[in-house]
């Protein structure tokens, strides 16, 4: 059933359009004298707020231990299939050999990543974080695929409150 809506009749001033034009000009003029908010990107870089979801990176703990144990849950959860982990055993001569497992390679294809942050959410070791990077470019497709070493370099250190593996090592030493 169609509803007929009666059109409201415009008043005299409304029909002149002048009040609307003037109020619009007032807003424009007000911003003309207000402080500038536009950033001269890329000469100026924005301040990235806390909790920003930029490019995913791998991190080390405060001891400099690579935190990823290559459980591949990020690879599993990734909706755009950007992550590819090659799991391997940690070599016997490493001081972290007791952790047993770590990635031989960890690839994130930045041309596929959609910055959803599910990898960070799925990670049981808090090894992958959404960083602050938002502008990623390269000359080739392969250049957009980041590997383990690059990811740890960009990620840096995120202090670990729990230090689970250190506790396990101390416990085993007893």
């Amino acid at each position: 059933m169609a509803i007929i809506v009666e059109r409201k009749r415009l008043s005299f001033w409304e029909r002149t359009y002048l009040p609307q034009i003037l109020s619009g000009l007032y807003i424009t003029l007000k911003n003309f004298f207000a402080p500038k908010v536009t950033l001269e990107y890329p000469d100026q870089q924005p301040v990235i707020p806390q909790g920003y979801r930029g490019a995913p990176v791998l991190v080390c703990d405060s001891d400099g231990r690579h935190k990823c144990v290559s459980c591949q849950l990020c690879e599993f959860v990734c909706p755009s299939k950007a992550i590819k982990v090659t799991p391997s055993a940690i070599p016997e001569d490493s001081q972290y050999a007791f952790i047993e497992k770590g990635p031989a390679d960890f690839q994130i294809d930045m041309s596929r990543c959609i910055y959803c942050g599910l990898c960070q959410e799925a990670c049981p070791e808090q090894a992958i974080f959404m960083g602050s990077e938002f502008s990623i470019n390269a000359y080739t497709r392969a250049g957009l695929v980041r590997h383990k070493d690059d990811l740890y370099k960009i990620g840096g250190v995120v202090p670990d409150k729990i230090m689970k593996w250190q506790k396990i090592k101390e416990r085993e030493a007893k």
Binding site: V69, S70, C71, Q72, L73, E75, F76, P87, S88, A89, F98, I99, E100, K101, P124, E125, R171, E172, K174
Partner: protein, 558 residues
């Protein structure tokens, strides 16, 4: 006992189940799930995990007179056991009442899981069993979601190699003793055992003892947690990424049912698939690595006189050479029944004779038979050979020496090994197969075909059981499907223009033409026994297969 039924009441509903079953099997046959760790349908009952606890009661009787005790309505009372019973170790009896869904049973399961998890390291992210771990699944389904344990967990030995094939992590072990029982009962050797007591119990073995067996990896499949993991598969891929395909082991004519686990065209492991008529739930360790040879020696391009060429060109050249006559065909026991049928037709069209060789190997009395080729009986049934092949090609050798053979169309066999090395120079060899060998290197034309992991097909095992294997991974781009190749040659040889049949269409044709194979178009996943009485005069080298189906026909499965 056979076919006897008893009436039981499970969760308030009446059912009839086979007598002699335990409660766990009875419930499973009715679709009622009871969680369990230590129970294994093919091993003796241990009753050590306590996960399958249920409430059980039997009709009450007066102890003195044996008369039924009735309630006020005149119905016989149920004398409930004061404590829960383990369903794996309790047989069903007439009138038994069972509760599997009560709050009390749920509480038992929660408590058992809490005890099992007390000293469990919870290292699922680095554990290879994650995704197929019973402890993980049951904790999710029946466990409490938080831990109340504040004390320190026990420390046990981790990462301890058992031989070269298995890595043992004692911390993850829940002491179900399945591996111990498997070694004792199936392998017939005590390899694993428990040491220490109470919560300090550890799964252990002697470092310097003879711990090897060709069936040891079955304990990895049987382990409900990640305490025993396969060294070759360790840290290779998480199980949830792997696609499974039903297949048949090509190691011997035992025809072990397998599952091929692959991802992205790469095979990661092969595990046994349950078939009570063939292999139950077991397979040999050597059979698990049959895919490795294709990683090492896969033929991935066609060659003519050892120089690479397009596959289509090589196929057309092969067809031309076959038209010159004087053809001998060497088939092999890894070809499917469908291919053998087509090969028979091709041999008729070319006037060629088909030769075959057997591949004798030691029979271990279990799941590796004395014949290395899985489908010799398929060749007998399709009629491409009439007697059991010899381990060499002596007949063909005499034919070549007699000058009757100018071209050998060889499927996958290494003629050099089979005693023809000195004669290969004098004839045109067209080699087609999935693997490289000395013959492929010397052949006039060499063509890559599909391997058993890359195609669908049927094999007939030593029990004359026809079984289906399916395509698990894609073949290399240059390879040509065996059926397309043979049917293409047949078309050129006969001059008839027919459409190259699909596997399904071909099975229908075979079913209509061959009386023994009349049901081959619809082979169930457990296989189908064919009538082998026609070949009773032939002396087969294999020992009889173990009868796993035995007394209990319905088994719970893994």
């Amino acid at each position: 006992m056979e076919n006897q039924k008893v009436k039981v009441n499970i969760n308030g509903a009446d059912y009839e189940v086979a007598a002699g079953l335990n409660i766990l099997e009875a419930c499973k046959s009715l679709g009622i799930e009871i969680p369990f760790f230590c129970y294994h349908p093919s091993l003796k009952v241990a009753g050590s995990c306590r996960m399958c606890l249920v409430q059980m009661g039997t009709p009450a009787r007066d102890r003195a007179t044996g008369a039924p005790i009735l309630d006020e309505n005149g119905v016989q009372k149920i004398a409930w056991m004061p404590k829960p019973v383990i369903s794996c170790g309790t047989k069903v009896s007439e009138g038994m009442h069972i509760l599997t869904d009560s709050e009390y049973v749920a509480d038992c399961r929660r408590a058992v899981l809490e005890f099992l998890l007390l000293n469990h390291p919870l290292d699922c992210p680095i554990c290879d069993k994650a995704g197929e771990c019973k402890l993980q699944e049951y904790t999710h389904a029946y466990g409490r979601q938080t831990s109340r344990y504040v004390e320190e967990k026990n420390i046990k030995r981790k990462k301890r190699p058992l031989g070269t094939k298995i890595m043992v992590d004692a911390e993850r072990c829940i002491q179900c003793s399945r591996c111990i029982r498997f070694c004792k009962e199936f392998i017939g050797k005590s390899i694993l055992g428990f040491t220490k007591r109470g919560s300090k119990v550890e799964i252990g073995f002697y470092d310097n003892a003879d711990n090897d067996s060709n069936y040891l990896l079955n304990v990895v499949d049987g382990c409900p947690v990640g305490a025993l993991t396969e060294t070759a598969f360790r840290f290779k891929m998480r199980t949830w990424f792997l696609k499974t395909t039903e297949s048949i082991c090509g190691e011997s004519s035992a025809g072990v049912n397998t599952r091929v686990w692959s991802r992205g065209g790469k095979i990661y492991r092969i595990t046994p698939r349950q078939n009570p008529f063939v292999n139950d739930m077991f397979m040999s360790d050597s059979g698990r690595y049959t895919f490795k040879k294709y990683e090492q020696r896969r033929l991935d391009h066609a060659t003519i006189d050892a120089s690479p060429c397009q596959t289509e060109y090589a196929v057309s050249r092969a067809s031309e050479i076959l038209k010159l006559g004087g053809v001998a065909i060497v088939a092999n026991g890894w070809q499917s029944v469908e291919e053998m049928y087509l090969l028979g037709e091709l041999a008729k069209a070319c006037g060629a004779k088909i030769y075959m060789a057997s591949h004798p190997q030691p029979d271990d009395g279990k799941l590796v038979s004395a014949e290395g080729a899985p489908n010799i009986r398929g060749a007998l049934i399709t009629g491409i050979i009439s007697e059991y092949p010899k381990p060499n090609l002596g007949d063909l050798e005499r034919q070549i020496q007699g000058g009757g053979v100018k071209t050998i169309l060889c499927f996958g066999e290494d003629l050099a090994v089979l005693g023809l090395q000195h004669l290969l120079k004098g004839v045109n060899v067209i080699y087609c197969g999935a693997l490289e060998n000395d013959t492929s290197a010397e052949a006039k034309i060499c063509l890559p075909l599909y391997s058993e992991f890359e195609k669908d097909g049927l094999w007939v095992n030593r029990q004359f059981r026809i079984q289906r294997f399916k395509k698990a991974v894609d073949a290399p781009k240059a390879a040509v499907n065996d059926i397309d190749f043979i049917a293409g040659l047949l078309r050129d040889a006969t001059g008839e223009s027919f459409k190259i049949p699909s596997v399904g269409a071909l099975r229908a044709v075979i079913a209509s033409k061959n009386e023994i194979l009349k049901d081959c178009a619809s082979v169930p996943s457990s296989g189908l026994v064919l009538d082998g009485s026609k070949f009773s005069a032939i002396e087969f080298p294999e020992a009889a297969a173990i009868n796993f189906a035995g007394a209990t026909s319905s088994k719970a499965g893994e």
